[in-house]
Amino acid sequence: MGYSSVRGGLEAIGHAEQLIAGAVTDTDHEVGVEQVPGHLELLLDQVMGEGGLYDPQLGALAVKQAEGDPLEAGFLLRAYRTTLPRLGYSVPSSGRDTRVLRRISSAFRDIPGGQLLGKTRDYTQRLIDFGLGQKRAPSEGSNGTGEVNGAHATQPAEPLAPLPDEDEFPLVIDVLRAEGYMAPEPSEPVEDEPFDVTREPLRFPTRRSARLQVLARGETGAMLSLAYAGMRGYGGAHGYIGELRQGDLPVVISHPVTGKHARIGRVPVTESYQVVGGQATKADERPDYTMGYGIVTGRNERKAISMSIIDGSLKKEHKTGASIEDEEYVLHHIDAVEAMGFVEHLKLPHYVDFQASLQRTNSVRKLVQAARSNG
């Protein structure tokens, strides 16, 4: 079975493209782009996070076009961003400046400001709500919970609550710092220009700023899998969540006319502060605890926690040899666009490659048969 070059399939490809294009429009109940942020908020957040681009309108379009496939939608965002110029970098924002809408600690019960559950399914039973399948009047809510980031929030039953003070929710790690369990906060930020993986290819060993950027853009499932393996024993990564917080992070620029800091808006984020112990030894006086950090756009606690576990593992000085502690392994395998591209390229024609493989196999077969016939 020899190989001869052929052409064709263009007509079939055209029809296949039409099927895809019609998949989201040829329906009696087409999903409006404006419905995505309100009804598929978690999917949208995942897409924008993995796409590395926060823009709810574009993200909603991508979700609709991709038929709800988060990896495909993230790919669309990554492709689109390459068509836009980079206008600049923001002034670094701190989680301390976040307007908090949820904030818990599983390490400490009594934390300054208290445990604010916010919008969470953590304490509910995972049972299908068949009531959602019933048609309701537009004003009728599904379960009475309030929205946090969505545009279709239900009105609170209670009168408006007084706003929290700006310092109502200090970072929980400050408690550990105050007790001397964790290194004190540096008085000044690190001045190194952060590595930008959208501008330069990764080189190993990387700087931590590059690692954090790749992790923030990583694929949720891949990072969850790594973190899970690390916790189960392949890396000893079972730490504690010092703090998990959701809220709106300010986006601040340096005003080009006055040179002063100016906020242009806010981005919803989830942060995870993973407290990792066992650092102190007899040989030195290092603080007992260090920290892994996770931050993602929107509400994606699974990824934020996974990121903080992976970051904490990559920071370890005494490594066990587990995959989660190997930055080259981790950073090369958590990017959704790269991973799906490489795995799914197998769908494209490999006729020549496989012909070559068959030829090798046939040659080996002949050699084996000849050897057997010669005794």
Partner: protein, 139 residues
């Protein structure tokens, strides 16, 4: 309102109102667009809290414009793909710097936009405030 606070106000204001106000200003106020309007990307940086290490977190789409009116510069950067909003913001920024007669109306409109943003934040906060845990000692 301080000049730096105007940028967020441009983003919070109703776009039709903002553009309408800029059109009113331009009836007797000549400006030259010196930058944009451009839709582009702003890389948002975050400071990692244990080492205070800044890193590139995510990009956001932004729209940016700058105008000149005599000796005055007007600038606006707003989040999202919204070039009309950016140009209108830059015009109003220049008008305020030049103490245009419509400045009091512009200031009021921007203050109202910020107040509406704060009211929305309080509404959102009020939905989560009841989820603050109050532990009960049962020993």
């Amino acid at each position: 309102m301080e000049r730096e606070s105007r940028l967020e106000a441009f983003g919070l204001a109703d776009e039709a109102t903002l553009v309408g106000m800029a059109d009113d200003v331009l009836e007797d106020f000549e400006v030259e667009v010196t930058r944009g309007p451009t839709v582009g990307l702003l890389m948002v940086r975050v400071e990692e809290p244990s080492e205070r290490l800044p890193f590139n977190f995510t990009e956001v789409t932004v729209s940016e414009a700058e105008v000149a009116a005599g000796d005055h510069r007007g600038y606006a950067m707003v989040m999202g793909k919204s070039p009309d909003r950016a140009v209108a913001g830059a015009v109003l920024d220049a008008a305020l710097e030049a103490q245009h007669p419509l400045s009091p109306r512009i200031e009021t409109m921007l203050s109202d936009a910020v107040a509406a943003g704060e009211a929305e934040w309080q509404r959102r906060w009020s939905t989560v405030a009841p989820t603050l845990v109050r532990f009960e000692d049962v020993t």
